[in-house]
Symmetry: C2
């Protein structure tokens, strides 16, 4: 017991063994199988709640600019709110700040948040400030939802189409360039690092509310997050890898062996929305894409057989998704 005491403390182990008993089986908590939850006000009035924490040295580098850190804590949460089919309303901010924080840092951090608040229309409700040894920022977001229906993670059906917004892999490529693991010319490098430092949430979620059968934002890698849509109903997916939206300049880097495509699709904070829907909704989705000028690509189909099949070949699900191990 003692020797084993530290071996299996993954996030999901902690949630399943120590935290699940605390939700008293309330349906609002989605049994902790979702990044978000909701407050049930009345039959048709719900407030979506999401929570994300970012930590210096884990989610960003020690010397990253304050506006990038601000961008990340807001994007991570907006993306969760969107994937549930909601629009942001307000948020609570818990700032854990070390002594090194300067006025310049605070100015830059708060200006970026203000900019995003104006863009996505939400306000700061409250929060607190604590002194920490390194930067730890936690935000709890509240989202409005037009009627009672929240997009869930467990609604995918056999034969549903699988769709993804935007382009994948950019942020992970940026991280590899930032870490100097991969090298290339400066303009390419700069382009991808910006994608890593300043992620954009895809706020199409509330328009998918009556279309998607399930949805998730891609925050821990495409394959891992897809798996989270499949697991609740023991389903599988056929993925047409060539159809996965990847920018031509990233495709070039894959072709020149800078990246392995499965690595790109198994890690990284894309903050795009991955969702499933009835094949009959295809025209609706294409119209939505056109109207909102958001790329939405069909990349596969839900199947009645466990596992993710990429071009017919089953994927090994090791390291399929980022998780902390404690």
């Amino acid at each position: 017991m003692k020797d084993n005491d530290r071996q299996t403390l993954s996030e999901s182990f902690i949630i399943n063994n120590y935290l699940k008993k605390l939700n008293f089986n309330k349906k609002e908590s989605f049994n902790f199988e979702n990044d978000g939850a909701y407050l049930s006000i009345s039959e048709n009035k719900k407030i979506v709640v999401s929570n994300d924490t970012i930590v210096e040295g884990v989610d960003f580098f020690t010397n990253d600019d304050a506006d990038s850190i601000a961008n990340k804590i807001i994007c991570y949460n907006l993306s969760d709110i969107s994937s549930m089919g909601a629009m942001p309303y307000c948020f609570n901010l818990s700032l854990g700040l070390p002594k090194k924080i300067s006025k310049k840092w605070l100015r830059s951090f708060s200006s970026k948040i203000l900019k995003l608040q104006k863009k996505y229309k939400f306000f700061l409700l409250g929060g607190d400030i604590a002194q920490t040894k390194h930067i730890v920022i936690s935000a709890t977001f509240f989202g409005r939802i037009a009627s009672g229906r929240i997009i869930r993670r467990d609604g995918a059906k056999i034969n549903d189409d699988i769709w993804v917004t935007g382009n994948l892999g950019n942020s992970f490529a940026g991280l590899m360039f930032k870490k100097n693991i991969i090298k290339t010319n400066d303009s390419i490098k700069k382009f991808f690092i910006k994608k890593y430092l300043y992620p954009d949430p895809c706020m199409i979620g509330d328009k998918l509310r009556l279309i998607a059968t399930s949805a998730i934002d891609i925050s821990d890698g495409f394959y891992g997050d897809l798996n989270k849509l499949l697991q609740p109903n023991n389903l599988g997916a056929n993925i047409d890898v060539k159809s996965i939206p990847i920018l031509p300049k990233l495709k070039n880097l894959i072709l020149s062996h800078k990246f392995k495509i499965n690595k790109l699709l198994s890690a990284g904070d894309d903050y795009e929305i991955l969702f499933t829907s009835d094949p009959k909704k295809k025209y609706l989705i294409n119209a939505l894409s056109k109207k909102n000028k958001i790329k939405i690509t069909k990349i596969g189909t839900i199947i009645n057989k466990k596992g993710i099949y990429a071009d017919g070949k089953i994927l090994s699900l090791n390291k399929k998704s980022f998780q902390y191990n404690f």
Copy 2:
């Protein structure tokens, strides 16, 4: 500018200069002059929101037991919810955990939370887990309120009575014993250290909702928190120091010069409720105290003259309340 860059970064400086612009003047935020806020659902339906973060090495010692840490994060938030006149409904938990965390720690931490959830009737809605270098725990609590009226901080009127629940100073005395700054016999020491490690929130708030004109929980010291009730309307307070509820065993320590009373009343996490009310409500409050078996003591009066007067002598307001300086 550069030399000054680090001088004045108190919590209130950060809030006033960088964060206030982010609340878009929404009344739900109380302009950040309250520990809590609320979500406005409809004219008569509000959800109270509070947020507190505790940090290893600041709010608790590195080797403090997990159940004490759990007790603190829950108590700090319940106390805020109570002071606004609400009852807890559910909460979001953000766990920043270092690698040293063991199964034993998690078992003890979650068991204590479960115990408090059963006692005070609330559930865990959601949250997240992140890897940090030291323990940083943030909780966002949601409270129910019977009708639209939340007890505010800025409602005190001239001639209002000033009341406090329970006994003051125990937790601060416990901290001094824990730090070995003060020494005495073991049973006395143990008693007060327990008060510091396992604070009890005073959940009388929802019963004061229609009685109190203003309220706050004492989390940064009695005098400092009293000052927060006075400042919004430029009021003052006459305090009868002898009437302040202090346990006989703590009074003995004061008499034997272990503690200065003003020190006791200027620091410390009492988690009692300090509130004001119309003198006509005196009998109601005494009846409430009797019925609920909660000590509630009248300790002074609101006056039309700025400052806190303890037995007629104005208090110096230096170090009146705990605040981080960054």
